[in-house]
Amino acid sequence: MMAWLQKLFGSSIGKKLWMALTGLLLLGFLVVHLAENLLLFSDRDGAAFDGYVHTLTSFAWIPLAELVLAGLFLAHIVQAIRVSLQNRAARSTPYALNPGHGGRTLASKSMLVTGSIVLLFLILHLAQFRFGDAAARERMAALVRGEFEKPLVLAAYLLGLMALAIHLSHGIQSALQTLGLSHPRYTPLLQKLSVLIAVLLALGFASMPVYFFASGASR
């Protein structure tokens, strides 16, 4: 079994599969994460959000879920770096001219860059809300609002989310192709849907820092 798994995920197609599967699972996390965060908008004093955070963190399995999630991020990132290095090593002499043939896109070319920006953003995000002051984390909604009133935080979030949108606009459709989903009838639609999902997700996340920054500024 182990030898078989090693052979499968060690192959060139297996490496793509690995990126696709971990990427799609992380996308699933983002969707859930957005849904729960939108609770911030459900009332003025943040009671609904605080109640939710309290219930969630009181579950005994949450540390395990956090570990799995961290492992997922690590699995995606480490593999991305390994594959990028291998791909770079596959052509040691670069072309003098390289205008492209019309296949690659800004998003497909910049996966490593956008991924790195998302990682930096993630570190900031965790430092703010996961590993920050324990007392402040008791009242999460207030903490979130307070953080989002800082202009630098707003700028960092917008940059991070823009990178996320670009990353996902290639990532989602790329994962579908890797999983073998390709057909002249539905592939063009899936490609547009990938971009749409990426943009909607980023806009959804951006709505929170933007709203709380704006409402903080107008107070």
């Binding site: 197609i13 791909n87 596959a90 052509r91 670069p94 001219l97 205008p99 296949g103 497909s108 073998g180």
Partner: protein, 267 residues
């Protein structure tokens, strides 16, 4: 669209990659060509240049070619950064100088991938493809008289799809164009072509596993779905073939059983 032609032909400045051997370090060499006929093919233009080089005692530029009619896959070259030049679905041998304007500067490089080492100048060693084919790009049949054609009906849509993939001439433009120097479009075309036809279907699983393994051994990069390969392919092989190869490989991996006679794992 008629390109403005010079009365005595085109004046072309050619920047060509010269490299005396596999381990030598290469460099660009510039040649000024006067009166290039717009009716010449790109390779004929190189022939004319080579004749004048030989005439002046210099060594001619080495480049690959064979059929010169776009069907063998021997010609190569990256012209101004485009594998097989700027024309879509056209091999270098079918590219004509009327495509260029008078006074144009053209940069010619070999296909670049570590799995395709430069032999000399513009010639690269593409035998990695031969080894991938030898690993499974065939069907096993007994020789003898040809079977009766109508005993094995193949539907037209299927035949068309197989033919689209069989159009691959194995030139390696996909590798040359891929930012990762990946050979997936080539292997996908072969796996697709053979898998789609009833004669090739029985070996689809062993073929998918063996060809992918052989490809990985050659040091090509990994596909990251840029789709430069499909855009560069002179035969218009679609990147959906790569998705089919992914399915075939996954299917074969899931179905593959441990080698017979081997001790069960964990025993």
């Amino acid at each position: 669209m008629s390109a403005p032609t010079h009365a005595k032909g085109l004046r072309i400045t050619l920047r060509v990659w010269r490299q005396s051997g596999p381990s030598a370090s290469g460099a660009f060499e510039t040649h000024a060509l006067e009166s290039v006929s717009p009716d010449m093919s790109f390779l004929e233009m190189l022939d004319v240049l080579n004749e004048s080089l030989v005439g002046t005692g210099k060594s001619p530029i080495s480049f690959d070619h064979d059929c010169r009619e776009g069907i063998c896959g021997a010609c190569s070259l990256v012209i101004d950064g485009h594998a097989h030049g700027p024309d879509a679905e056209t091999t270098t041998c079918q590219l004509h100088m009327r495509h260029y304007r008078d006074g144009a500067t053209i940069t010619v490089e070999p296909f670049r991938a570590n799995a395709f080492p430069v032999v000399r100048d513009l010639v690269v060693d593409r035998s990695a493809f031969d080894r991938i084919i030898a690993a499974g790009g065939f069907i096993s049949v007994n020789t003898g008289s040809a079977p009766e054609a109508n005993s094995l009906p193949v539907g037209k849509p299927l035949a068309d799809e197989a033919m689209d993939n069989a159009a691959c001439i194995g030139c390696g433009a996909c590798v040359a164009a891929c930012p990762n120097a990946s050979a997936m479009l080539f292997v996908a075309a072969k796996i697709s072509h053979l898998k789609l036809l009833p004669q090739g279907a029985p070996e689809r699983e062993s073929r998918a596993l063996a060809m992918v393994e052989a490809m990985d051994k050659e040091g090509f990069g990994n596909c990251t779905n840029h789709y430069e390969c499909g855009a560069a392919c002179p035969k218009g092989i679609p990147v959906s073939s790569i998705a089919r190869m992914n399915r075939e490989f996954l299917r074969a991996s899931l179905k593959s059983s441990p080698p017979r006679g081997a001790a069960p794992e964990g025993a």
